[in-house]
Symmetry: C2
């Protein structure tokens, strides 16, 4: 019934009210902007032929996050730090639509860069400091690789209502760019260089130290994402892609790479990001094996008894996903899931398990094993290994925990509703730094 | 200089004129709609956070085709048959942005389908005729595969000014859906069934006969494309994906699959699509090995002497691309190109060759060899094999030729401009049926 009401409203809007409302800037009473915009799409119009759009029946959006990463803030946008999570609950396959790719940590807003004026400087402990325009970078050999990006702020927490809440600071794209090793060899690497500092063009001048060995391995200076130029909220025109490492290594609006002989504690890292837990910090570069069920997940509802397909994503900073196991009894027993598409290193990997549901309570969870043999831990295993009390997993800032890759259980209730399967805990501190 | 003028105009527009123009519906003098829309994007606005958009400096669009496939028509859109080609000259990687994916052959316009009301029927020579809603289809196991789609109307012709002209009826996406074999087994296939007829929901009721063996091999009933629901111009909510076969097999807005005991000559096929050349028709299901250079290609210009990267796409309906060779001397000699990313069956495969240009004339072309050992022919080899005079390759309707997978040469002139490298021929008949 609710659906019909929405449809009726859209049909009504389509007859001119929405356009009129948008045109004058006046609010359209009772309709969100997204609904009004969707209703205004004429599938056969010239604009749609030039640059296609979604069906008006598809209205999935990113999930806007709070205005400050240090607040447990209400979900309102902030022009100086617009952050939003990927709506993973509606994802299919492994490619994230670029428009729905999570975006976070813009210090002082998303810069509006003219690519014809943008430059990348490579200097420091090199034989020949170099400055490249974007066009010049395109005269070097490129590679295209499908990789996940994940913010270290992702954490399966008991308070998360949806899989976007628990894991939505994550996405996967095809990235195209120049291997950084090619550019560094062009500049000539001095023997004393062991790290590089990557700097963005944002108002906050985000910087991150990257080990030189990683830079020479598989890091890209990317100008392409899913077949088009990297979008502004993902780093247009240049983004450093550091496969398998924490999101903050993947510096947006990249303008400078300085080779140095030690890691720097840069301003943004020092003030926001760096983990202070000496137990986990040495391991905190590459993500371990992880996975999460996206359907059925929190706030979704099974459409009835009978056959369903449990579907989810697995990934690891260690390389390819080797296998995924799924439990429907809260981890007592597991069955091996089927991987449904391409299995690529440091990329999302889609898995499925066919399941018959007869109305019983069930706790669904998945466990990833990567090509290195690393196995995703349970919450209890994670806490025990690192010596945390359970409560500390949720009162400690994420970046001080390490990578929160523990197993996420979803509880299916008798009415088919799905809720967070982690036992409740007190107030959760959420700092996605 | 031209660029600066555009930028200045955009900056001017951003200060309010564009928004005012859009708002009143009044034309914005001197600015295209795309420019005005781009100028209106506020990177930090709520709309952009909810659903991201491109930089205002990125204005690539699809290339609108003529209003009738039987005309050599002027490039104006037609609401009843909106067709547009992929702008391959600006492509990177292998994924085509869905908004730029070619779209063609909509008989009587793109239908505006409510997925909650849409159904797929499977009937004919089956044990149990079945009807599925879209939600019901999602309760079956799925797969996600990256595949190219190509219209049989693609043809490297001497008149083509750009790679979009010669090859733009082609794109590559990650498709997610139910293997058709799963659905057919659910319905029970009678022994007498050898073909199926797939029917769309468009006004023209496009239908296509598909061999049952292919249907049981790797055909999908797809509901996902590049991580989101299939878009309306690509078949929302359901599209048949027939990997490696001609585009017209990939029936959009799929509503019916009838199992039968022979191929049908359906109305749309009979009136528009079917090839009448008995020599090529039996071979006309799966595309042979093909490739094309996308940079540098027609109407582009080398930015100066020195190192450039020749980049292109290769593909084959026969499976994976095994190797690509590139010639810079019009085919006298070839060098093996590097494949720059994932090499997947029946998918675009990106290749590159580093090349130094010192201002000389050069003819660049690529040659694909697929996993079956099939080698892409030259224009002369193609004509000789099928017994055509050269002129016939361009005066015969494409679907009567077979698949026009001959090698495409691009000529680099002394001033760095790039033009079509095929020798001129008389008037070309272009019927992308």
């Amino acid at each position: 019934m609710r659906r019909e009401t929405q449809l009726d409203r859209r049909r009504f809007l389509k007859k001119g009210v929405a356009l009129a409302g948008l045109a004058t800037g006046a609010p359209v009473v009772g309709a969100s902007r997204a609904e009004a915009a969707a209703a205004a799409v004429d599938l056969n119009a010239t604009e749609q032929v030039l640059y296609g759009q979604r069906s008006r029946f598809v209205t999935t959006t990113r999930v806007i996050e709070g205005s400050s990463h240090r607040d447990i803030a209400p979900p309102r946008p902030n022009p100086y730090r617009p952050s939003a999570r990927t709506p993973l609950g509606e994802s299919v396959g492994i490619i994230t639509p670029t428009s729905l790719h999570f975006t976070t940590q813009h210090n002082y807003g998303i810069p509006d860069i003219n690519p014809a004026e943008h430059k990348l400087m490579i200097h420091g402990l090199v034989d020949r400091p170099l400055v490249f325009t974007v066009d010049e970078l395109k005269r070097f050999p490129s590679v295209s690789r499908i990789h996940f990006l994940e913010c270290v702020g992702n954490r399966p927490a008991p308070g998360g209502k949806t899989v976007s809440d628990t894991h939505g600071r994550m996405a996967c794209s095809e990235w195209t760019g120049v291997p950084l090793s090619v550019l560094l060899r062009e500049a000539g690497i001095k023997n004393s260089a062991t790290w590089l500092i990557a700097e963005g063009s944002d108002g906050g001048k985000h910087e991150k130290s990257v080990p030189l060995a990683k830079a020479l391995d598989d890091v890209l200076v990317a100008y392409g994402q899913n077949g088009e130029p990297v979008r502004p909220d993902h780093g247009f025109p240049l983004r450093l892609i550091v496969p398998g490492f924490e999101g903050i290594y993947n510096v947006k609006w990249l303008r400078r790479l300085k080779l140095v002989d030690q890691a720097y504690v840069t301003f943004q890292e020092h003030s926001r990001f760096i983990g202070s837990n000496p137990r986990t910090q040495p391991d905190s570069y590459a993500f371990g094996p992880s996975s999460v069920i996206t359907f059925p997940s929190g706030s979704q509802r099974l459409s009835g008894r009978g056959q369903h397909v449990i579907s989810g994503l697995a990934w690891s900073g260690g390389g390819e996903v080797k296998r995924v196991d799924v439990s429907v009894d809260g981890g007592k027993t597991y069955q091996e899931a089927r991987l449904t598409g391409a299995v690529l290193p440091k990329a999302h990997t889609r898995f499925e398990l066919v399941w018959r549901w007869e109305g019983e309570e069930a706790v669904l969870q998945s466990r990833c094993t990567d090509v290195k043999g690393q196995v995703q831990p349970t919450e209890a295993e994670y806490a025990k290994y690192w010596g945390f009390a359970r409560q500390q997993l949720y009162t400690t800032i994420q970046s001080q925990l390490g990578h929160c890759n523990w197993i996420m259980p979803w509880k299916v209730n008798r009415d088919g509703s799905v809720t967070n399967g982690l036992p409740p805990v007190g107030a959760v501190v959420d700092v996605h730094g």
